[in-house]
Structures are given as C-alpha cells and as structure tokens.
C-alpha cells in the first residue's frame, strides 16, 4: 500500500469500541422477499462480525449480481456491489492492492457458478485471503425463477418447461477441484452451525469457501427442507466434525463407513458395526475431502455439512508483496529518473 493511502488512513483517529451486531447494520431497508433465507445469513454474519476483532472500517463486502449480491448494502462496512459474476475478481484486485483489509465476497449459485465460474475457480487456486459466501438456492431468483447451475436435472422452470437437461454443479467438489484451502457447507436454517462455520472461515488464512444452502421461498421453496427441517434433517445430513466419526440419524444410530474408497451407510444398531468402524473426519486430509464432497447428490447417502477441508497454503497477495520486497532489497527502491536515463543513451549537442 502506498504512503499516501497509509497516511490518509492514519490521519483519522480510531475510537476503540466494542462492536455489537447492530454496528454492522446499515441504514438501508432490507428488500429481500419476506421469508427469504438471506435474512438469516445476514443476521448470522452481523452477529459474528463483532467477535472477529476486525474493525468495521477494515471490512469490505464485495458482491456481484443477484438477490444475494444486495448483501453489501445492508452491512455497515465498506461495500462494493459490482457486476454479474465478477465479485471474486474485483475482490482479488482489492486484496492485492490492500492486503490489510478483511475482504468478503457474497455470491450466489448463478453469479458464482455460472457467469462467474471462471473467476471463482481462479480465486481458489490463487488462494487470496478472501472469504467467499455462496448462497446456494438452486434457482435464479432475481430474474424470477429460471433453473441455475446447481438445480437438479429435470428441473421444471419458466425457462425449462420440459425439465432442465444440465447436470448440476457440486460447489464443494468444484472448489476442491480448484485447489481450495478451505471448503465448508452450512444451512440458512441452522444459525448456530452457520455462525461456527463463518468464524472458522474468517479465521482461515487463504480463500475460504462457504456454501450456504439458502431457501428461496418464492421460486424454489423447500429445496433443502430435507436437510434443514426438524423431522427430516437428522436422517439426511451428516455433520462433519474434525477427528470425529461420521455418525448421524435421529437416534445417532447410523454412520458412514468407507468401503474401499466408497462411503456407505451402516447401522450401529444391529451389532455388525460399531463407531470404531466408521470414517473419522480429518479436515486436513485433502483426499478425504474429495470423497466427502462426492457424497453430495448421492441418493443413499446423507448430505455432508460442515468443514470439508481446512489446510494452510501460502496466499497470493502475500507472495506478491514478498516479491516486491525482495526486488527492493536487491535493487533498491526504483528511481524513475535513473530508469529514464538507463540503458543505451546518447547526447546530441
């Protein structure tokens, strides 16, 4: 960061203050449809922000286009509502220029996986220290109900009256395939879990990718109810916890066992298998993360929720700064006058 930027920022006195979630609420009216899952995500984000220890003025939310992308307007931080699909690229430039900022991207399944798919995968492989929250509602909401790249095949929508033909993306697997260093999945209707995941995402150094199942009650109501509603969720999701066996079910009587490389559901009741036979989660195991992400969309397996992977990998913007520091160390701070007069020159009298 340039001296001019440094001085500008330093010229304003900072008042030490203890933030509350209210400090992160902007004065703008929230305009999502009543009942939208986005409200919960906004509330959980505003709730965890005070605990992160990052001042409001150092926090920036960047978004693209779509319902989710209105998010920055409602956060009383710095915000940039950019163009469709490009939030990850805008945020990358911002983070490279200003590694001192806490940069968050809010995107959706259309914005992030479709029009912005390219920038999404490249952000993950570069591993800039940016937090990406992908609101996945498996539908285009803002354009009023067309199928999205995460909609299930055969989805009947306005644009696919005979059913969609595309096979859906599995965002977690796509992220892992892009060499993401942090991949998690959480649910709009589980505030506690979401808060835990958001805090972990914030603490991670590198790109944190959080897929949030979000109900669009207008165009795709109930898409995730299996995984979120009281009477069904326990049998349909398995919560990933580091170093713990994969147990699930209302009576915690089922588990996931690896048969070769293939996960399968086993009963813990019939005496054949015990907890000791189950797959034990390890957030730092890249290979395992692929197996777990691949459970998504498998009809006979519960949907994994939680942190798939969290590993350390160097951040692009830090390496960029390191190269610059090394060049200055080696060649001294560049002198424009000298440069103009460098190389082959000649004098005419």
């Amino acid at each position: 960061m340039s001296k001019l930027v440094e001085e500008a920022i330093a010229s304003v006195p900072v008042e030490e203050k203890k933030y509350s979630s209210k400090d992160f609420q902007s004065d703008q009216d929230v305009r999502w449809c009543p009942g939208c899952g986005d409200y919960s995500i906004l509330a959980q984000t505003q709730r965890v922000m005070p605990d992160l220890g990052i001042p409001r003025h150092k926090t920036v939310f960047v978004s693209g286009i779509g319902c989710s992308s209105r998010f920055p307007y409602y956060m009383d931080t710095y915000g940039f509502h950019s163009i469709h699909g490009r939030a990850t690229a805008v945020a990358s430039g911002l983070k490279m220029a200003r590694p001192d900022l806490s940069v968050w991207v809010v995107t959706g399944d259309g914005d992030g996986m479709s029009i912005g798919g390219n920038h999404f995968i490249h952000l993950l492989r570069r591993n800039l220290d940016i937090k990406v929250l992908l609101f996945n509602n498996q539908i285009y909401g803002l354009t009023k109900g067309q199928y999205s790249p995460t909609s299930e095949k055969g989805k009947v929508t306005k644009s696919t009256p005979f059913g969609s033909l595309d096979y859906p993306f599995n965002p977690a697997a796509l992220a892992l395939g892009s060499s993401a260093s942090f991949v998690a999945r959480t649910l709009d209707r589980d505030p506690k879990h979401m808060q835990t995941v958001l805090k972990r995402a914030a603490a991670h150094r590198g790109t944190s990718f959080v897929e949030i199942y979000q109900n669009c009650n207008v165009f795709n109501d109930g898409a995730f109810f299996q995984f979120t509603e009281k009477d069904s969720k326990d049998d349909h999701i398995v919560i990933l916890e580091h170093e713990k066996p994969l147990v699930f079910g209302k009576d915690r009587d089922k588990g996931i066992r690896l048969n070769g490389f293939t996960p399968e559901v086993v009963s813990l009741k019939d005496g054949k298998y015990s907890v000791n036979d189950l797959l034990v989660h390890n957030e730092t195991d890249t290979t395992l993360s692929f197996i777990l992400a691949d459970m998504t969309y498998k009809p006979n397996l519960p949907r994994p929720v939680g942190i798939f992977l969290s590993v350390d990998r160097s951040c692009y913007e830090q390496e960029m700064d390191r190269q610059i520091a090394a060049a200055i160390e080696k060649r001294g701070v560049g002198d424009m006058k000298k440069l103009l007069n460098s190389g082959e020159t000649w004098v005419i009298n």
Binding site: S2, V12, V60, Y73, H119, H122, K330
Partner: protein, 613 residues
C-alpha cells in the same frame, strides 16, 4: 582490392525480411539501436505474422522489420524501402512490392533453392530469370558463409542456422558505416551463460562485416550523417515501453501504487512484460484469468486507493465493456489502454488499425462517457498515458488511452524528458467523516470524493445500480436518474477546461486543414511537409484529446474551406467531427493493417488543393 567508394545519403529505408524463425525482429532492433546511438533520426515498423513459427519458407511465415533513418527529421518508417534484405524467396515475394524502383536486394541465395522457390510460388528463380531487372541484386550465400565462419566450432546445424541473421546484420553495418560494438555488447550480455552461442554470434557478426569490407560485390558503402535533432540526451523507445514507463511515472507522481490487471493479448502484452520487471518500483502486475478479471481487478484495486490500469487490444476492450460502465457508475479512476489492432473479431492481431475510436467513445450500454487520450508517436505514449492518468485521478473517471500496433511496436529516438518537470498529480483522499457523502461532488471538477476502505468513519457502499445524488444510495427515481446521467456527462465535458487548446501547425486559416489522431501523425507530418515544399499551403491539426475535444476545436475547423481526416478506419473521427461541429469533413481511409504512406496523404492533399482552384 580497389578502395571502396563512400556515398552520402540523407535518408535510407531498409527492410529486413525472412522466416518468422530467422530472427528478423532481433536483427532490425539491433540495427535500430546502433543507428540511434549514431544520432540519426529514425522510425521503425515491425511487421510480423500472427503465427509464432509458421512453416519454413512459406509466404505467410514471412516476418519483416523496416527502419527509416536519416540525417533529417524522420516521421514515418518509410513509404517504400531502398534496400530489401531477403533471407529467402518468400521474403522477396512478400516484400518486393514495397521496394522502390532501382532499390537494392540483398538475397540469401540458399533461400532460393528449388524447395524455397516452390513454397514461395516461383516457377523460376527470380534472381536469375531477369524479372528483377529494375532492381540491383546482390547475391550472397549467407547460410554457407555463416557455416564456414563456424566450421571449426563443432556446433549443431541448428545453432549454425540460427546465427545467420547476424551475418546479414554485420553486412548491413558495413554497408551503412555502423560499428558492430553495441551489438557485440548485447550478444555478450544476452548469451553470457551460453559461451558457445555467444562466440558463434560474435564471429558471424564480424564475418558479415568483413565480407562487406573484402568482397568485390559491394563497390559502394553509404554514410548517413547524424540528424540535426534538438540538443539533449536521447534513447530509443517503443510505444509499449513508453506506455509502461509513463504509467510508472504517473503512479510515482500520484504517490500511488501502480496496479495492472491484464490478460495477454497482441499487441499489448509487451506493456505487461515491461511493467512486470519493475517490482522494485512497487508495481503490482496481475495476469488475470481473462480480460474481464483484468479490468475488474483493476477497479477493485482503485477502490482500495491504487492507480488501477488495464491494458488490452480491441477484442479485450469488447470484453471489458461492462466493467468500464461500472467504473463510470462508481466513478473510480481507471486507465484502459487499448493498443488497437486490425478488427473486427480476432481480425489482424499483429497488424495496426485505428478502428476502435467509436468503441472507446460510445461502446457501452447506457450513457457512459469516458475521456479519451490518443498518443501520436511511439515516444509520445509516455506523455499521453501520463495525461490519461492525470485526468482519471482528478476527475474520478475511467479514461481510455489509445495507441495501436504500429505505435506500440514501433520505435523512435526520444529526447529523455526531465522527470522533475512532470506535475504532481497526487489525489486527495477523503478522510474527514464530518459531512461525508460518497457522491457529494467537487464544485469545479464534479469529481466525487475518493474515500478508501480502511478509513474510519467513511464506511459506504458503491455499486453499479443508479446512485442517488449526494448519498450514493440506490435510487430508482426517474428525475434523479436523468440528473445523474447529466452530471456524469458534464463532469467529462468540463475536462475541456483543463486541457490545452487545439494548436494548428501551419496557417491558422485557409484552404485545407488535415486533422489526424493517433499514429497517423508521422505520415501526415511528412505529407504536409512535402506539399509545403512544393510551395502550397496546408495546415495540420493532430488531436490528442478526443473526448472531450479541446474547447476551440470548432473555431479551428470553421476557419478552413476543406477539412481532410485521414484515418486507418472507415471514417470514425470524421463522423464525430461532422456530427459535433457540422463541418463537411472529408474522410480518407486506409484499412489494410498498415500505416498510411506519406505519398498517399500527399496525393490526397494535392487533389483537394488542385480541385479547389
């Protein structure tokens, strides 16, 4: 051996041509640097195929490099060449049309064997069949002479073959009385880690020079005295290098970090290559995944308080269009460098054109005015891009910097400017939370405040949705929308108060004004000079600021009976001038991927002057 005769010339144009793997660009560049060091004025035109290594000996694989140098002022790379160095038959065939009648051909005879002749589509050897009788032919078996010079070194035939361009270079150095020293130094530096190749190249270079000295076939050598250029220190510079350095100088004078978000594209990539070297200047270069990420990352960096830049060519601008509209809406400084090439679509990637003016001017959805600054010579890219940065920072706006393939790759001697003479263009970041509104504008410039993340108390949101006047909140109010549209337009229009007036070269009124922009400068300047030498009057206006135009542009145009606008497109500036000033501007077009020849403009000027008598 008879004493060789030396003849003085005041200008010469030489074209080196060969296979794209023959090192013709390198040969031309070395000849250029040596010539510059001798104090000649010069202008160059690299002309190479889009293919990296097209099949050997084919017509489409021919790569050329033309240099026009002299003891007088040189403004163009030369309409026609006086000397053609042809490394093979294809090179001869492709370039013969640009050789002046009576011109010299130096032909590498090994490149005229049956296979090569066939590939070039010759049914008989033009060197032997008399078809080149109006030219002076020098047959030299460069390939064989190179091999002889290296025969005791035990090098692979590939390395031997790769050295032959230095033989041609050495010969030309001899013929035009240039020392081999600076190229020797360059070879030693470049191949320091490969002593064998270094030794081979040095030997072949000298062998070429000695061949000229001792052989009987060259009876005459030439001398071109140094040019009477303004006093001072000079260097040779290409347009792309000047652009890169201009950006670095602007960032320094703005006291900001330079951030380049870009994607490789011909002919703009050299700006990235150049900037990537200067990490010790704090330059951050980001080779993004695509053109869109390049520009949006630059916008993100600008939001953070950096001097955001993106570099590209026409097809890349097409992809960046939506993001440029975003930069207009969020009113952040940004420089978009378009090094134009032949279009539409992929078009002619390695050839030059000026057909993106309308794209820069109007090519966005909605009313989205963007200031435009165009460079007129390779070295001028330095000052023009600096000016683009000044405008961007002062008015909080994206700015187009227009150059083209001819300027970007072309080079000329540059009177090195005094860096201290460039103004401080540092912005004043908003820091005071008291009374802060993201869209409360400066009364004179209409620029909004630049409040960067990290500043306590200035937390705010910007975005692509229409802004409410002053607050910057999202607004769908019809009156507000029109008001904001007009404010953004007025902001750009007001830049006219802050740029130099249009200055005419020649009489301020009269029969004919030639109006140019960008790289047509050199050809217009030469043509106008020739017409004046004939005792006729013609004036010249070269526009650097194309949006907004200098305030007095209309007054200047109205003082002439005829306005001629030569452009490498189908008449884009002339359309704008006609619509804005209601003048009967006449368009002169050339869209062949090549710059205008001075003679083409001279004839057009003469036609108008004769016709109006």
């Amino acid at each position: 051996m008879a004493e060789k005769q030396t003849q003085s010339l005041d200008e010469v144009t030489i074209r080196f041509a060969g296979d794209s793997g023959d090192g013709m660009q390198l040969t031309g560049t070395q000849f250029t640097n040596t010539t510059a060091l001798l104090g000649n004025d010069l202008s160059t035109l690299p002309d190479f195929p889009a293919e990296i290594r097209a099949p050997q000996g084919t017509l489409f694989g021919v790569s050329g490099f033309q240099i026009h140098f002299g003891s007088k002022e040189i403004h163009t790379p030369g309409d026609q060449c006086d000397v053609l160095v042809a490394m093979n038959s294809a090179a001869l065939k492709v370039n013969l049309g640009s050789l002046v009648d009576g011109g010299h051909i130096i032909a590498n005879t090994d490149g005229f064997n049956d296979r090569n002749l066939k590939l070039a589509g010759y049914s008989s050897n033009p060197l032997k069949d008399g078809s080149l009788s109006k030219f002076r032919i020098y047959e030299v078996d460069i390939t064989k002479l190179t091999a002889l010079a290296l025969q005791d070194m035990g090098l692979s035939s590939k390395i031997v073959d790769r050295s032959k361009n230095f033989f041609a270079l050495g010969m030309m150095y001899w013929m035009y009385n240039r020392p081999v020293d600076s190229t020797m130094e360059w070879i030693k530096k470049k191949f320091g880690s490969k002593p064998e190749i270094m030794e081979a190249n040095v030997r072949v270079l000298k062998a070429g020079w000695n061949y000229g000295e001792t052989t009987e076939i060259f009876a005459v050598r030439y001398e071109v005295a140094r040019a009477n250029l303004p006093a001072g220190k000079y260097r040779n510079i290409t347009g792309n290098q000047a652009c890169a350095w201009g950006l670095m100088a602007a960032a320094r004078k703005a006291k900001l970090d330079l951030f380049l978000g870009t994607y490789p594209i011909t002919p703009a990539s050299d700006i990235l290559h150049e900037l990537a070297m200067y990490k010790n200047f704090g330059v951050k270069t980001f080779q993004a995944e695509d053109e869109i990420a390049g520009v949006t990352a630059a916008i993100g960096a600008a939001f953070g308080g950096a001097l955001g830049v993106t570099t590209t060519s026409g097809p890349g601008v097409a992809l960046k269009t939506e993001a440029l509209g975003l930069a207009v809406m969020v009113e952040l400084p940004l420089i978009c460098c378009n090094i134009q090439r032949g279009g539409p679509s992929t078009g002619l990637p390695t050839k030059t054109e000026q057909a993106d003016l309308m794209q820069a001017m109007y090519g966005r959805n909605g009313e989205a005015p963007i200031p435009i600054v165009a460079a007129s010579t390779p070295a001028d890219c330095f000052e023009a891009v600096f000016e683009a940065a000044r405008i961007a920072l002062k008015y909080m706006t994206p700015v187009f910097f227009l150059s083209d393939g001819y300027l970007g790759n072309g080079s000329e001697p540059w009177l090195i400017p005094d860096y201290d003479d460039f103004p401080d263009i540092s912005p004043k970041f908003r820091t005071d939370p008291e009374g802060f509104l993201p869209y409360l504008r400066d009364e004179s410039t209409l620029a909004r405040p630049w409040a960067i993340p990290g500043t306590p108390g200035l937390e705010h949101r910007i975005g692509g949705l229409e802004k409410q006047h002053l607050t910057g909140n999202v607004s769908y109010d019809p009156q507000n929308h029109e008001h904001m549209i007009k404010l953004r337009a007025e902001k750009v229009d007001r830049i006219a108060d802050d740029i130099p007036p249009a200055v005419v070269d020649g009489e301020p009124e009269g029969e004919l004004l030639v109006v140019g922009w960008g790289s047509t400068y050199g050809a217009i300047r030469s043509a106008v000079g020739r017409v004046r030498e004939k005792g006729m009057k013609v004036s010249h206006l070269q526009l650097r600021h194309l949006n907004p135009f200098p305030k007095n542009t209309g007054e200047v145009l109205y003082k002439f009976k005829h306005v001629l606008v030569p452009e490498m497109n189908l008449g884009q500036l002339s359309k704008i001038l006609r619509s804005k000033y209601l003048v009967p501007a006449v368009s002169l077009n050339k869209v062949q991927g090549l710059p205008f020849k001075a003679v083409e403009l001279e004839n057009a000027i003469l036609d108008i002057l004769k016709g109006s008598k």
